[in-house]
């Protein structure tokens, strides 16, 4: 039944193209219905799923000569991420309600993207996963190049090329693994169970991990992210930061770490104090956290602040993955959801609520506009989103970051301290941006500028996202109860034997 999320999205995308050309309202409504249907299916499956164990949804042979199957399955981790996609899909449609130009094509590409993302999270056959992963690139390109803003064609192309290079690296690794395992099957469990040689894993792991991590914004391969986010229209940035970057992290966990767990082991020698790929990627993740935060601190463009903050938060996820203990990994997955929601919300405020009205993103220009009086809903939403982003307790970010921090402490104590510094800088840059954008109108200088009020779809979208973040923050157990059994499944045996704590 979960596969319905994929099919409905694709069908919706197709149906949108068949609508008559000028039907903007019909296009929006159809898109909203499709996204809601997808979310409803995801939610039902999530609630029905008693344990987080793996459950196959569909399994039919596809290309028998190569042992490739059309195999969809979901475990706790996939369920959480599918849920995330559903929520952000709806929010994205709501925040794109004002697109007037070529509306049905916009939503068609949008739904195509969503369908492919669902596909990645639900794929159990690695060929299928790769197919969906690649499909994501094209609608992303067109969404940004056609409806974006600053330097959109450049940003879109950069994004597409980086993603494609990343997936090219993954392809090499996948084909090599497939052939090395006898070219019999591309199924995740058969490849995960195959005993690749240590030498092979030591080479394949970094290749595939970096391939996926490029999309996850690992430093120093992150440079596409700020440019891409800024160039993209609001819904695309929401999807990009909220969901697509999580595809990369998911791939790191589901493919790289599951297939080649020995690649995380010690090299046997030390280089610059690093003794394994695990150390390397952990350090890079922490650099990403701190670097992203520091750069966000000095940005003059509002959207760039949020873009770099995305890079910083993704660093948390990657660090959590590298801790290789239950708490760090669980924290990483919760952070995937948490950051997905919060980043979407932040981009929604900056892009849709502020930029679409004021047509500027320069913090210096926004200050005098006295935005907290002109569009108070936007100010309040940004405050709440900002607090959630800082990791204020009560919101989803706190639990996630705390878990990652504790996990990191068990694994890399020194790095955990650096992470703490990153969190502090995080507080500062959010607060600075908030101050400068919304609350500068201190003296009785200017009357608040006359801006169109925040429309109903925007309010609904904001409430949806905030409620989700609060729900996760107050009751993270609802996610943890499916994540824990998933992490304990036989699929992760290799990781466990290789030094899991």
């Amino acid at each position: 039944m979960l596969a319905g999320t994929i099919y409905i999205s694709f069908l919706g995308a197709l149906a949108l193209l068949l609508l008559p050309r000028r039907s903007t309202t019909a296009a929006r409504v159809l898109a909203l219905l499709t996204a809601s249907a997808g979310f409803a299916i995801a939610l039902t499956a999530f609630l029905q799923h008693r344990s987080g164990e793996l459950e196959t949804i569909t399994r039919i042979p596809w290309i028998p000569t190569l042992g490739i199957e059309y195999h969809l399955a979901a475990d706790g981790i996939s369920l959480c991420l599918v849920l995330l996609t559903g929520i952000i899909a709806i929010a994205g449609v709501l925040f794109s309600w004002n697109i007037e130009q070529r509306t049905r094509e916009f939503f068609s590409f949008y739904l195509l993207l969503i369908g492919a993302v669902y596909g990645v999270f639900l794929s159990y056959d690695l060929f299928l996963l790769f197919v969906f992963y690649e499909i994501v690139i094209i609608p992303k390109y067109f969404l940004i190049a056609t409806w974006g803003s600053t330097r959109r064609e450049y940003g879109a192309m950069k994004l597409a090329l980086y993603s494609f290079i990343g997936s090219a690296m993954v392809l090499v690794g996948l084909i090599a693994a497939y052939v090395a395992a006898g070219a019999k099957s591309m199924s995740l469990d058969s490849l995960a169970g195959y005993p690749f040689s240590l030498h092979f894993q030591m080479l394949a792991f970094p290749l595939v991990f970096v391939g996926f991590a490029i999309l996850a914004g690992l430093w120093p391969f992150h440079t596409w992210a700020p440019t891409g986010h800024v160039a993209a229209p609001t819904a695309a940035s929401m999807l990009l930061a909220g969901v697509v970057m999580k595809l990369g992290a998911y791939g790191c966990l589901r493919v790289a770490m599951t297939l080649f767990p020995l690649g995380l082991g010690p090299w046997g020698f030390h280089l610059l104090g690093l003794g394994s790929w695990r150390d390397v990627f952990a350090v890079l993740a922490v650099i990403g956290i701190v670097y992203g935060a520091l750069v966000a601190l000095v940005q003059k463009d509002f959207k760039f602040v949020i873009g770099y903050s995305s890079v910083s938060h993704m660093g948390f996820i990657l660090l959590g993955l590298m801790t290789l203990n239950q708490i760090g990994l669980s924290g990483a997955i919760i952070q995937m959801l948490s950051h997905g929601i919060i980043a979407s919300l932040l981009f929604a405020v900056v892009g849709r609520m502020v930029y679409d009205r004021t047509h500027t993103r320069e913090l210096a220009a926004l200050g005098p506009m006295n935005l907290n009086k002109a569009i108070p809903f936007a100010a309040v939403t940004f405050v709440i989103a900002g607090m959630a982003g800082m990791g204020l307790p009560g919101f989803s970010g706190f639990v996630a970051e705390l878990m990652i921090l504790v996990g990191a402490w068990h694994a890399f104590p020194v790095l955990a301290v650096c992470v703490g510094a990153g969190i502090v800088i995080g507080v500062v840059y959010i607060w600075r941006a908030m101050q400068k954008a919304f609350f500068v109108g201190d003296a009785e200088t200017s009357a608040p500028s006359q801006l169109p009020p925040i429309s109903l779809p925007e309010r609904l979208g904001a409430v949806l996202l905030i409620a989700t973040s609060v729900a996760i923050g107050l009751y993270p157990q609802m996610l943890l109860r499916v994540i824990a059994p998933a992490l304990n499944s036989p699929l992760f045996d290799g990781l466990r034997k290789g030094g899991w704590r």
Partner: protein
Amino acid sequence: MMFPWITVLTATPVAGALALLVAGERNKNLTRWLALAFSLVALLLTLLLWHRFDPATGSLQFQERYTWVPALAIEYHVGIDGLGLLMLALSSIVVPIGMAASWKIEERVPLYFALMLLLQTCLFGTFTALNFVHWFTFWELSLVPAFFLIKLWGGPRRTPAATQFLVYTMVGSIAMLLAFLALYLATGTFDFIELTQLAGNGNLMPIVLAKLAGHHLMLHHLPMVLFAGVFLGFAVKVPLIPFHTWLPSTYAEAPTGTTILLTGAMSKMGLYGFLRILLPIFGPQMRAVLTPLLWLAVATVVLSAYAALAQKDLKRIFAYSSINHLGYCLLGIFAVAKFTGGDMSLIAQKYAAMDGVLLQMFNHGLTAAVIFWFIAMLEARSGLRGLNDFGGLRKVAPVFTGLMGIALFSSLGLPGLNGFIGEFLIFKGSFPLVTWATALSVIGLMLTALVILGILQHVFTGPLNQKWKDFPDLTTVEQISLAPAIGLMFALGLYPQLVLGVVNNTVIQMVQQLKF
């Protein structure tokens, strides 16, 4: 399954806040009354709790305990003892007073009152939480409405004031968070009760050293470092000199209704932290640095009173005066912390001092709230609040003068009013324990007297400033609303057993926990 009193109590104001935000800007008066109604409901619930509280034991009652994030040992654990109940009562009283003082706010009324109610929830949460993460959540969350109340409705220099407030408190909070994280990593629990037990058995620091010192971080100084972190968090909040510099401008620039909440309830959060967390868990560490702490307490008492004398803005005067009054509490706490080796006569003194501290917390909260309420009324009528802006108001507004005078004398510590008994008990208990410090603190008493009398003279007595010959006196509505507060001041002054009866056993238990 017992009725979840505390959760309901904590949820009531936030429900009110949501209701206000939904109701919107339509009818300002309706909004104000709705907000007031919610805060009065909270007051009622608190009185119910007070009634049902069993003062015979000193242990925690109305406990609720649910697991929240088992992986991180985070629980929803709430409960109150005498101290908690007292603080809940104080918050419930202070918030309606704050709302009454904010009646004249015209801009974005629903948001203002919603923020106040949110702040009340955070206060309730902080005073009842027993698991660090849960407690810390409310502690941090309380900063947000406070910040915005100051930033959006405050005076001309509100931005630097709000910023300073936020930054100081945040820094302290972060230090606290790190220290508690270290404790968690060592012991595996965030629960205050469990940590207190570990500390009481003398096992806490050895465990910490065993688990954490292996990471070549600061070795046997670690307990002091942790203590310093937590101490910093609370010292900023109370405040203790020299961490107080944020307070005067914040109190001055905040809208007066907010100042009432700040001084009436939020400042008590810091002292509550001292009593609930710092003293039980880090007792030995506190004793190790007792002398410097006492010097700081003395400085807090004396220097703040001296500074109050130099101020010309009424709000600033009482800002410093607040620091002074809370300094006595600190003096009392540090005196109780002093190790006496089981001398039974001194234990009675410790009880007295501790009783005094709790009483002073409550009474100062009440008194300061009422005084700032009066200042708000002054401001509303005249637009000014400078010391030298008025003169001879006694002639045109006798009732106003009389009632404010009562509040002022209570602050001074006149016997018969509530302000006296707390200070008296503190001095009585501390004198045998830390004689030199107590003696020096008497200077503070004298300076405070000078300040209060000065105010009475400049504002109320003396020749009438012609500008104010039409100064309106208190209206009937105002008199009716003031009556309960003033009545309570007299009641507590004449019959402190009202409060002491409830908290006494809690005090005894707290002191005994310290293994005097």
